[in-house]
């Protein structure tokens, strides 16, 4: 995780994923795309999704936006989901992170320890390929711009 300072952060955007796992790079790609488009009060971070790092990044921040690639069955690669915490609830039955210790654990732990952001928005994109290698599949690459715009929209609202 590129560690953000805890000082006066209005929002944090966390791209979760591994750029050497094809579509898992969607989150970091969106963060890179937005790096020069957000005000200084917004921290841009890349993470492997490990819960303690996620909690450290978002604890006490008014708004946290997470962008992550997810596995879905059946999958429609490139299909986007926007989830706001508690509406609908995120849990093992829904879309989960492609990582071993995932976003659901980070949210569960954050809740148990009162270390959640004021508001958590998750932008998830269904992955088509999570095998080893670089480069997004065309279906996911095609929605990176849309994803980035959606994150900007959330930051402005």
């Amino acid at each position: 995780m590129t560690a953000p300072s805890a000082v006066a952060r209005r929002a944090v955007v966390i791209g979760v994923g591994n750029e050497f796992r094809r579509d898992d790079a969607a989150g970091p790609t969106v963060v890179a795309r937005l790096a020069r488009q957000v005000p200084a009060s917004v921290t841009m971070a890349v993470s492997d999704g490990e819960p303690t790092r996620m909690i450290e990044a978002w604890a006490g921040v008014p708004l946290a936006i997470v962008v992550d690639a997810v596995r879905a069955e059946p999958a429609v690669p490139g299909r986007l989901h926007r989830l706001v915490l508690d509406h609908p609830p995120i849990g093992p039955g829904g879309a989960v992170s492609s990582h071993g210790l995932g976003l659901d654990e980070a949210i569960g732990l954050g809740r148990a320890l009162d270390r959640m952001p004021g508001r958590l928005i998750v932008h998830a994109v269904e992955a088509g390929d999570l095998t080893q290698g670089t480069g997004l599949t065309p279906a996911v690459a095609a929605v990176i711009g849309t994803l980035a715009a959606a994150v900007l929209c959330d930051l402005r609202s």
């Binding site: 995780m1 993470s47 492997d48 654990e105 320890l113």
Partner: protein
Amino acid sequence: MTHRHHRTLVARALARVEGEGAMYVLVSGGRVAEVRLDIYEPPRFFEAFLRGRAFTEPPDITARVCGICPVAYQTSACQAIEDACGVELDGPLADLRRLLYCGEWISSHALHIYMLHAPDFLGYPGVVEMAAEHREVVERGLALRSAGNAIMQLLGGRSIHPVNVRVGGFYRAPSPSELAPLARQLRGALPLAIDTVRWVGGLDFPDFTCPHELLALADPGRYPIERGTLATSGDLAFTAAEFEQHVVEEQVPHSTALHARLAGNGLNGNGRYLTGPLARYTLNSGSLPPVAAQAAAEAGLGPQCRNPFRSIIVRAVEIVCAIEEALRLIEGYRRPARPAVAVTARAATGYGASEAPRGVLYHRYAIDADGTIASARIVPPTSQNQRAIEDDLRRFVADRLDFDDERLTHACEQAIRNYDPCISCATHFLDLRIDRR
């Protein structure tokens, strides 16, 4: 559950280990006939695609083998290449390398103790459920992990896959004043680490002993972390350059990770050996710094520890050790004149070994005169431990055949987590299947 002598258990995923794979247990006629760690993740060919790369690249490339112990990969790679090029770090650069490694130990061990392992002992399915009833305990774990990450962040540039490490040292060396806030955080973390030892020392542990030969680094006068020569409980002593004369890797049908054994089959005649916290501690407990040594004694560890379930105590003691060492290194730190020493390529083969949180990590590189890597060899700790884990599981299950399926499955999962296996390194883990026939 079917007949006790003929039944099948399937656990879809063994959680809280790093990576993916499967475990298969065959119980036939009321006896454990076979135990296999089935590692099916495709090999990642790191050794192959390092060939033809520049000799400066392995620290950054091999850091990608693992998100939990990238510093171990960077360090072993740097050492091996520096060895090939006739360079040895000393002074503040060597201290910075050890300090960075301390950060990884603290972070990795805190993650394993609190997030992955402790829920087993306290009867929770995971850390989220544990946090609901033991909030202050989990907060302590997060604070320790944060202290470790802070070291990696400052020295490595970031806490995952650090980018400030290079062959010969670092791209940038911090000033002493930059390390001052880190020292404050570590001084605050030290009592938390001592409390951790006391806390895990009070857990209930099954009576279980692993008889394997133990392999760890030895670093005269101090606890081995980032460098050292190799030693075994069978009194073998050798350098990293001799590693492949003493450790043999073999392909087995059920795993994409190689299995290691001691050449000549070692002290016990079966070649099985264990590396990692139990081996490190048992072979080096006399080298612990004073606060860690006292914490270990108060927790009742004694000079040796051969119960894998008690490895959680050893990890806690090693957090104390790493914090103590980090504070000592920061206190004595003077900024080096240059952040790295010049390393000039030459046609040679170099060897490096360091103590990853999970055990000895060995690298070997052959370099051409123009600095191109001709061959690479990486032996991670989990692949070394596979045979010992399988053997321990075989004996562990044999003593618990009267357990019902659910209880036995859970017990096996807990037992596997004792070793903190990193299948991501060895290649990934884990479904559990028990056949009872």
